[in-house]
Amino acid sequence: MPVPSLKLSAISKRYPGVQALAEMSFECLPGEIHAVLGENGSGKSTLLGIASGAVAQDSGTIEIMGAPLVAADPQLARRIGLATVYQDDSLVREFTVAQNLVLGTISPPGDPHAFAEAQLAAHDLPISPDALVGSLSASERQFLEIVKALVGNPRVLLLDEPTSSLDLSDVAKLTAIIRKITSEGTAVVYVSHRLPEILDLADRVTILRDGVGQGVYVVDEGLSEHDLISLMVGREIESGFPPRADAATATVGFFATRLSGAGFSEVSLHVDRGEVLGFAGAEGNGQRDAIRALGGLEPATGHIVCDGRVVPLGSPADALAAGVLSLSADRAHESIFPVLGVRENMTVQVLDDFASGGIVSARRERARAVELIQELGIVTSTLDKPISGLSGGNQQKAVLARSFLHEAKAILIDEPTQGVDARARFDIYRAIRARTAAGSACIVNSSDAMELAGLCDRVAVFSRGRIVRVLVGREVTEENIVSSFLTSRDTRAARAEEARAAEGAKGRSVIASVRDALSGGATQWWTPLLFLLILILAVGAYATFQSDAFLSPINIRYILLATAPLALVTMAQFNVLMVRGFDVSVGSMMNVTVVLASFVMASGTPTAMLVPGAFLCIAAGVVVGLVNGSLIRFLGLNPVITTIATLSVLQGFALYLRPSPGGLISEELTALLKARIGFLPVSFLVIVAVALLADLWLYRTRGGLGLRAVGFREEAAKRNGVHVNRVHLRAYLLSAVIATFAGFFLASEVGTGTPVVGSAYTLPSIAAAVLGGAALSGGRGSFLGAVLGALFFTLTVNVVTLLGLSTALGIIISGALTLFAVFLYSGWEPVGWLLRKFEAASRQRRTAAGAG
């Protein structure tokens, strides 16, 4: 028997409250396709995560090609020959196909374009290396993930639900790729929900149930879908579910007709009063999107009626007003208010019930809260204990209490018992039944088929965004639920969907293109530069027209010299904006430099001592940068407030050294920084050259690619092996050090040790960077853009002064320019929203015209 390519021995992993894997062993041989099968939550993802090094196991060993995986490190696993195909999670959408492929390599290839072309051609994929990943279809992205994983010929390939976004012809293409690599000896571990595919493709199948292996089976004629399902679902039916509703008294309380939205389409359903309807399906088949849209949490089209009233779509507040109450599955982010107390979390939606004249009666509110705490069995030490301190089950019960307080006619609960211990689960089931017994309709979405089987009167099964089957009465069993979504072969609708999406992409309206261009979707890095150049020329032309002095060499030289410190501090700021950070302390760093320079680089300092003096200032910058970066990155503090704190400390330090201006700056330093060729200052030319080199690094090297990946999508960057912490720390370090250089220029300009003169640079540094194309959301912009932004800023202020306009106007303009800049590149969301509205209206008009 050959040595297994991947061998897991006695792996155990425990998460709080659940044993995800227990003593699980698994092996995959060279050239074998080994499928892993199990229900939602059976431990498949944990198994895959541990094998790939993304998750650390509690005990057990992993061997890849006979070599042990000594640490939970995906990069290490990658180096020994194991690659993982994530579901669209390691791609940076703002990058091209070629850039994404390069980002994933261990040693970067010479020509990215040729490299990408070769990789794609090897698998017959008609994807252009220059296409933006964001513009690819879901299936193209999935194939790109696979190609990326196959770069470097891994000996083991892990595939996690690779077909969830593929149609039939794509599945055939995927099958061909898998067969080809297995014929070359690569081992493939294949996790899927789709039984027909597994029976078609796999050599062997391992079945998992509640973290325990249920055996390994050879796939042959003798193995049927039915056999697999009965192996997966053989759990004991737990007792303790509350009794179901009495169907005889039912009247329809809630119905939806032809509801469509992102991830689901044409969903029609009804729920009677007193009834619980379940949503089932394999993960990602639209059931979650549908229940969220029903409650107004996602936009949708269609028609919803609750208790005879039409429910407006797309707004939870409107849905609530119409009697529909939603509880999200994302408890941490969308249900609880972590810092608020248990009572406040329970009563947040019904405060008016306890209030008269706007004043909440604490007595009435507390009394009701205590009642519910007892009824639902919530364990908490006090009413006002922050809810984040409660267990998951008690949090969920407190959230559920909202539905008891509110008069809602329909209650939509997404994953009612996720992360909840067994005892609390049955409290929650009883609470849901108690609520429906009082006359409400209820919809529950759950990934736990057993839960649905025990709790629901009817279960709607989703596949690829549609309800494919509704189980009623005695049909509602765990086995029926699981088998109806595992064996669904309905791919017709999905294909139609895909075709429609392609159609839509081709027939994109002009408005959509404009919108994308404005919101940065199609913005090239040089667009802001072009725009800035036009602005600079426009302002320059105006100034030339207004004043003869403007174009004089002296004035131009003056503008360029005045630009230098701002250009540098803007480049400093750009470093951190690139990684979604902020550095408000750059202005104070300049102050500290000016003041320090007035001591260690003072007038009369011997030339030989100027260099150590400069190094001392730079060392101060290094310390500040490291402190900023460490506080933000390792303590996880907010960058804005952290750098405000450093700003304050640095300002104090500068004022301590020089309570009032004093000490002359070395003339030699000034002479050096103000040296010129003709009328052009050398320093400015050097700054431009440095910016160009930095941009070359940023846009032409692997390191720059990694930095931009961190800015765009940190998670993806991490998966591709970028050292994310190092990148962040470097950004803050460079920011403070470059601010030190800006301080040298400022010192040469003011000539004396002035302790506050740099503070005025903080706001312009952000404004100029944003004008130069940097986005607060990270990843975008260029160093040259930063320099041009600074030039434009300085130019505008110069023009105002030159034309004899008031200083007041200068200040107003600097503020207005900043707002203009953030609006220009970051503030289009509201405008984009308006444009979308307009587009929808015009589409409607077209449709109407077409019909007429």
Partner: protein, 339 residues
């Protein structure tokens, strides 16, 4: 109406057995600053005994009141997950509008005050609208709007006589004392109480806290998050406007730099007073305590002969410490999320 479920209560919450303390109790994060203040007073009593003389305290307490008013505004903005760096500009605007509209005459005092407060609030509304509706970064918006306000104030000030004084009536009020304590302190106390009642007792205050604690969860729960965000900036602007008037009354002939000390100090006081920069949590009383603490500390340093530079260093350290404490609480949440 609310629905009562026929649930068996036999193993009801543990709470019932223990009984619930009425009033809930003060959280440690808000208590901490009072303990620190007491410690500071005690230390002061030992190393600079005159720092706790009644005359010293009466002299500095109006300064603490000014800081408290501005810090409460900043705290409200922080509670709504924003940050406000336009305070110095709004104070200068309010002060200048008061001078200009009243023209130093008692007869125009009321309209001067109303105009000052209206303009200050307006700037707050603009800040709030750009942040909540425009979805722009609060730091940049308030810096930029601050610059525009500063420029506009400068322009307006240039049209006024060089030496402008507040109306005599206001000046007299500013230096008057009730029970031996400056009226500004009493006014601040009233503001603290009113804001505390609004935040703790009214439906508005409660929803505001929820909107700040988790905007996303608040939106799901049907709360108008944007409205509360704008309101936070607007009320903050109003408070800075009051501060502008009260400070002007105190110093009688305010200059354009009247607001300059209030860029960083309010953030330090708000954060030190236990306000969570992650939103939702804040106590106006604790902010008042922090204002007293910072002002007293500044006075002590002055008495020890240390330069004012140390104030900045203290603000910086105070911000860092306050934030680290707040974030370490959040560590609990993060641990829970990572399950």
């Amino acid at each position: 109406m609310s629905v009562r479920g026929p649930l068996a209560a036999e193993r009801g919450g543990r709470l019932a057995k223990q009984g619930v303390a009425p009033g809930g109790g003060v959280q440690m994060r808000f208590l901490a600053i009072w303990i620190a203040l007491a410690a500071l007073l005690a230390v002061g009593a030992i190393i600079v005994p005159r720092s706790i003389l009644p005359s010293t305290i009466l002299a500095f307490i109006p300064l603490a009141a000014f800081l408290c008013i501005t810090a409460m505004g900043e705290a409200l903005v922080l509670m709504s997950r924003g940050i406000d760096l336009s305070i110095p500009s709004i104070i200068a605007l309010s002060s200048t509008v008061l001078l200009g509209v009243s023209g130093g005459l008692d007869s125009a005092l009321v309209i001067g005050i109303v105009a000052a407060l209206a303009f200050a609030t307006l700037v707050g509304v603009v800040n709030g609208a750009l942040v909540a509706i425009g979805k722009l970064n609060a730091l940049i918006v308030t810096l930029a709007i601050g610059a525009i306000t500063q420029g506009a104030t400068l322009w307006y000030r240039e049209s006024l006589p060089q030496e402008a004084r507040v109306p005599p009536l206001l000046a007299d009020w500013g230096s008057s004392r009730v029970l031996g304590i400056n009226v500004a302190v009493w006014l601040t106390a009233v503001l603290v109480i009113v804001l505390t009642v609004i935040l703790r007792k009214t439906t508005y205050g409660r929803r505001f806290a929820a909107a700040g604690a988790s905007p996303r969860a608040a939106w799901v729960a049907g709360i108008n998050v944007r409205g509360y965000q704008i309101a936070a900036f607007a009320v903050a602007g109003f408070l800075y406007g009051i501060a502008g008037i009260v400070i002007s009354a105190f110093i009688r002939n305010p200059t354009l730099s009247v607001g300059d000390p209030y860029l960083l100090a309010p953030i330090a006081a708000a954060v030190l007073g236990g306000t969570a920069i992650t939103g939702g949590v804040g106590s106006m009383a604790a902010v008042a305590g922090a204002a007293l603490f910072l002002t007293h500390l500044g006075q002590m340093l002055k008495m020890l002969g240390l330069s004012t530079a140390f104030q900045f260093i203290i603000y910086g350290i105070a911000i860092a410490i306050g934030m680290a404490l707040a974030e370490s609480r959040l560590g609990l949440v993060r641990r829970w999320r990572s399950r």
